[in-house]
Amino acid sequence: MSDDRERRVGHHADPRPPTDLFRSGRPDRFMLGLARLAARLEPLTARLRPGHPPPKPTGDLPVRVVRTERPSPDVAVLTLAPVAPETTLPAWQPGHHVDVVLDGGVVRQYSLNGDPSDRSRYRIAVRRIEGGLGSGLAHGLREGDVLGLRGPRNAFPFARAERYLFVAGGIGITPILPMVVAAHAAGLPYRLVYTGRSRSGMPFLDELPEGPDVFVRPDDEYGPPKAADLTRGLEPGTPVYVCGPAPLIAAVGALVPTGTPFYSERFSPPPVVDGRPFEIRLGRSGPVLPVEAHETALDVLLRVRPGTPYSCRQGFCGTCRVGLVEGEPEHRDRPTGGAPRDGGFTPCVSRAGEGERIVLDL
């Protein structure tokens, strides 16, 4: 079947116009007509002027750290305000995050967590991860420090519903808190289950709405959580919003039945696993670039050619795939729908053996 399929949908176009759909043999007149139309319109549209001159590059939004708090030793809560006075920050909704540009161009994403109606400041919370570069830099920030912001963007859409179940684990409360506050303010029925190791390590306890809808569930009081405890009483159709450690999200997701909406924040692509250093060459006579064990060939390509197209960074969409000229690659892609690889190399995930060199058609 795969040969057949390749011939049908993956073939390279034959420059001759295709034959008629019904009386095979003759060129198709409608298709020839479309080709003539395109050939006439192309020179005509080449004379049309753009509606505006090329746009200038936009930079990051400079903000200043105006307040730092430590609700627990490993959590830093930062309040950020625009450097330029009288500036309004872009509007946001619960679930939005910003890209924070830290020292040395390190970019990390943090959920917004303050009051969406206050356009003069943003608030983010950062948990310190042992050995984590971004969280270490963020914890080193002091009042008065200036950094760049991009966004806000939304990878965790909060859609209006009639009722909600929120599940937060530890620092996962950050995007959930504004959702809970919004549901509470709108008078919508909801339930929040907030888990963590102990109360002292669970931020924003004092900002949660009071009432029977909020269940704070530290492990040192209730024991380690079971997913079934967290979703107890879930009525079919009630949207479930989860944020926290990956195992928590997976466990809750597995219990949410089909037909009941399930929302979780989508993670950034996974880091390189089992990588060995190798080399890529851009064309037979082009430059040779080393790829370190912890990075992908795409990371290296983007450094030298920032306009390189890519998309999923997980090896399924095929956007970054390039021709392979020479070398023995270690294919780690899994083209979606089993599409043929066509002698290509997918730099977002595929690699080569230690010290090997592969030549890409670039």
């Binding site: 176009a13 298709m31 859409p157 996974p270 956007t319």
Partner: protein
């Protein structure tokens, strides 16, 4: 389950991050006429499976060429997300073509025409310099026009309750609604990209005119092709050759998009103050993606890989 209509909202989810979902569908149990006893409506929608793989691969190629011309960080991110979503759409629909073949309906003659149209007629045309860039902008304008249609169709299929009522194959309905939801989710990207690199009204209007004419013609040709080559129909449905009026009839019945809605899309798009975000509901798209079996499975697999 509560079946009251959702409350009217003004708070549409905004500024969505677009990310492709690696969806998988199993067509082994699909009937050739997957809207039961409605071969005409089935084939009207089947034309999408013939058009979209080549069309969306072409979107991807053209957009990849546009990426170096983008000077706005956020737009670049949106465009990169759009490209991945379109690439997966193309392969998902291509999977249905294999299924048609297995039922004795060989889609090749039609698909080869579409491949030639997108790869040769709308391909790179051996141009250089300013003219090459102008041809890129013209093709971006064509894509922006087509994307208005895909958003209209996406919204239609999210709303099309009738398809559930008549027992449409649930896997096919999930494919169509997952695709429709992603089209609604990313409906502003092609227009925003065109406005970023060009923004001229004449090019955008001309491109929409050509795109609407070509789409309409290709759709009619596609339905004829499928009905004639369907081994169970051989050109006739209930002993009669299909009539144009059936498209209006099935549109009114809610089995296919209504022609009036498709026609209205043109003046809508030609308004000077048009913006895709004024049409369609992101909230509805996002809500479908939160229940779609294929999207849920894709996101669960992604989480598993990230652990």
């Amino acid at each position: 389950m509560n079946t009251d209509p959702a409350p009217v909202t003004t708070d549409e989810p905004d500024r969505l991050v677009l990310r492709a979902r690696d969806v998988h569908f199993d067509w082994s149990a699909l009937d050739l006429h997957w809207i039961p006893d409605e071969p005409f409506a089935t084939h009207v929608i089947n034309v999408l499976h013939l058009l979209l793989p080549e069309g969306e691969r072409w979107f991807v190629e053209v957009f990849k060429q546009a990426v170096p011309h983008i000077t706005d960080h956020e737009l670049r991110e949106q465009v990169l997300g759009f490209i991945g979503q379109e690439a997966v759409h193309a392969e998902a629909h291509a999977g249905v073509l294999d299924h048609m073949d297995a039922h004795g309906l060989d889609p090749r003659p039609y698909v080869e025409q579409i491949a030639w149209l997108f790869r040769v007629v709308l391909g790179d045309r051996d141009l250089s310099g300013a003219r090459e860039f102008a041809w890129l902008r013209t093709r971006l304008a064509v894509i922006a026009g087509i994307e208005h249609y895909t958003a209209v169709l996406g919204q239609w299929v999210l709303d099309a309750k009738r398809l559930d009522e008549v027992g449409t194959d649930p896997t096919m309905l999930d494919l169509l609604r997952w695709h429709g939801a992603e089209e609604v989710e990313h409906r502003s990207v092609a227009y925003d990209l065109y406005m970023h690199v060009d923004g001229g009204y004449a090019r955008r209007a001309l491109a929409m005119g050509v795109a609407a004419f070509a789409l309409a013609s290709l759709w009619v040709r596609g339905v004829r092709f499928l009905v004639v080559n369907d081994p169970y129909l051989r050109g006739r449905i209930d002993g009669v050759r299909p009539k144009a009026s059936w498209a209006l009839r099935d549109g009114r019945r809610g089995l296919i998009p209504h022609l009036g809605r498709l026609a209205r899309a043109i003046p809508e798009y030609l308004r000077r103050r048009y913006h895709p975000s004024h049409h369609g509901s992101t909230a509805q798209a996002v809500a479908y993606l939160a229940v779609s079996p294929a999207a849920r499975a894709a996101e669960a697999a992604e989480r598993e890989a990230a652990r």
